[in-house]
Structure formats: structure tokens, C-alpha cells
């Protein structure tokens, strides 16, 4: 495998890895369809007053913008690899 072929292969492999990693992260944190969240609210109950009150806890929930950015990055890598292989084909 020459250098150009190795580059194309590496780009495609990285593209697939980026896509899978992004998708995996998004699914693992709950497939949230809104924006990314860095905290979540847990509702607790005060027995004496009867008030339900929120307690904010730190968490990470990947949103659609992370999914979009990861997919765009993977697509860019895949596109670059296609361009690279086409150039090689034209030269040959």
C-alpha cells in the first residue's frame, strides 16, 4: 500500500470511527433531541412545607448539535478521502 492509499484508508477509518463515536456518545447519554445539557434537575419534596424543590446536579447529556458536529466531521473526512482517491485515479 503506497502513501496515498494509506492516507485514503486512514481518512475513511477515522471518518467511520468519528461517526460511531459521536453516535455512541449521543445514544449512551440518552439520545436527547434538544441541546447539550451539563446539568439535570432532580425534584425533592420538603415534608414540612409540602414544597417540591429542584436540586440541580452536574451531568452530561449530548445534544443534537454534538451529533450534527460529529456527523459533519465524519462526512468531511469521508469527502476528503473520496477526493484523494479520485485524484489518484485521474493521475493513474
Amino acid at each position: 500500500m503506497n502513501t496515498a492509499s494509506r492516507l485514503t484508508f486512514t481518512l475513511r477509518l477515522t471518518s467511520i470511527a468519528a461517526l460511531l463515536a459521536t453516535l455512541g456518545l449521543w445514544l449512551a447519554t440518552g439520545a436527547h433531541l434538544g441541546w447539550t445539557r451539563t446539568s439535570k434537575v432532580i425534584v425533592r419534596h420538603d415534608e414540612i412545607t409540602g414544597i417540591d424543590f429542584p436540586v440541580r446536579e452536574k451531568t452530561f447529556v449530548a445534544g443534537v448539535e454534538i451529533l450534527a458536529a460529529g456527523t459533519a466531521f465524519a462526512a468531511a473526512l469521508a469527502g476528503t478521502s473520496l477526493l484523494s482517491s479520485r485524484r489518484r485515479a485521474v493521475r493513474a
Partner: protein, 212 residues
């Protein structure tokens, strides 16, 4: 001093004492809403066609003068620290606090001054009323009327603080109402597809009135 003068003085002292006792028992209690337990909260929701935003705020202070025997004369002021307004997304939170939206650096508080009560109904320990007052948001003051439920919990302060030696009462206020952000100069008429014009506010707060 003869007997008549002594009797008159005693009667006067008795009358004055009775009057001051009645006045003391009829005087409204002052409930402090600064909450060391962090329970007091305001929940807000903006439901726009493209986005639903929910958040909470806990930085609540203020005092309310409430007399369970005469709830109609309730007055008070509740203040919210705008920096305590939080949403789940940190970028959205920065926008919310920023100069375009709430501008918390310039307007650090949201305040409601209760002036009069109407339609007062007592249901057991609860008093329901329509409270009219002045709401100040982002420097704009408007008169609004809010349906409020007052729950008077006599002698419950010690139980809440986990120390039965502490004597005092609690007053819980609950209210849900809507305001229009354009009326308070919060980006009027802009980005309405993502940030709803109407903000639904749900308030649940408890104030304490210690007794010596």
C-alpha cells in the same frame, strides 16, 4: 393620692394593657423568605413553536406581613436574584443572563410588591386570594394580579429547622401565573419562534416568623 385616683389609674392601666394586648395579637406577623434550606424556588417555562425552555431560580428573599385572622390586609415584597436563574444548557444560560435578554449585571433583581388582596377565601389552613401588586422586571414596573395560595403553618418553624426549641410559624406561598416578556422589555417581539412571548411562572416559597 386618694382611693378614687388610685382606682382611676388602675382602670386606665388595665384598659391600656388590654388595648396593647389586642393590638399585639391582631398585628400581622412578618415572615422572612430568606431560605437557608434552599427549598424556595421559582420554575419558569417558555413554550415556543420550535423550542421549549424550562428553568428554575432559587435566590429568593423578601418579607410578607400576614395575619391569619385578617389575611386581606397582607402586604409584602418578594425579590428574586436574577443571577440564580438557571437552565439546563450553559450556553442558553449565558444568553439568558446576557445584555440582550435579562441583563443580570444591570438588573440584578426581579421584585414583586404586593399591595392589595381581593377575592379572599379561607379553606382550612389555606387562604386563597388574588394579589395585586407591582412587578418589576428589567427595570420595567407593571401592575399585575396573581392568584396566590397562602398556607399558614402555626408552630412549624422548629420542626422545619430540626430544632423543637425554636418557636415560630411558617407561611407557604404558591402561585402560578403568566407574564409577557415584551411587556417587560425582554427582546420584545424578537425570536418568538424559539423563545415564547409568554413566560409561565410557578412559585413555591416558605417564609418564617420566629417567636421569642
Amino acid at each position: 393620692m386618694n382611693t378614687t385616683t388610685l382606682r382611676t389609674s388602675l382602670r386606665l392601666a388595665l384598659i391600656l394593657g388590654s388595648v396593647s394586648l389586642v393590638a399585639a395579637s391582631a398585628a400581622p406577623q412578618s415572615f422572612d423568605f430568606k431560605d437557608p434550606k434552599g427549598v424556595n424556588n421559582v420554575h419558569f417555562k417558555l413554550d415556543a413553536p420550535l423550542e421549549s425552555i424550562t428553568g428554575t431560580a432559587t435566590g429568593i428573599t423578601g418579607t410578607v406581613a400576614f395575619d391569619p385572622a385578617a389575611p386581606a390586609v397582607t402586604t409584602g415584597r418578594i425579590v428574586l436574584d436574577t443571577k440564580s436563574l438557571t437552565v439546563g444548557n450553559p450556553v442558553m444560560g449565558e444568553h439568558l443572563h446576557g445584555a440582550h435578554w435579562l441583563d443580570v449585571a444591570k438588573y440584578p433583581t426581579i421584585a414583586f410588591d404586593a399591595e392589595k388582596l381581593a377575592n379572599v377565601r379561607v379553606q382550612g389552613a389555606q387562604t386563597l386570594a388574588d394579589v395585586t401588586g407591582k412587578l418589576t422586571v428589567k427595570g420595567v414596573t407593571r401592575e399585575i394580579t396573581v392568584p396566590v395560595t397562602f398556607t399558614y403553618l402555626a408552630g412549624k418553624l422548629g420542626a422545619r429547622l430540626g430544632d423543637d426549641k425554636i418557636k415560630g410559624d411558617l407561611l407557604v406561598l404558591r402561585a402560578t401565573f403568566e407574564i409577557n416578556r415584551s411587556e417587560f422589555n425582554i427582546m420584545p417581539g424578537q425570536a418568538t419562534d424559539k423563545v415564547a412571548e409568554n413566560i409561565v411562572l410557578s412559585l413555591a416559597i416558605a417564609g418564617a416568623a420566629p417567636r421569642s
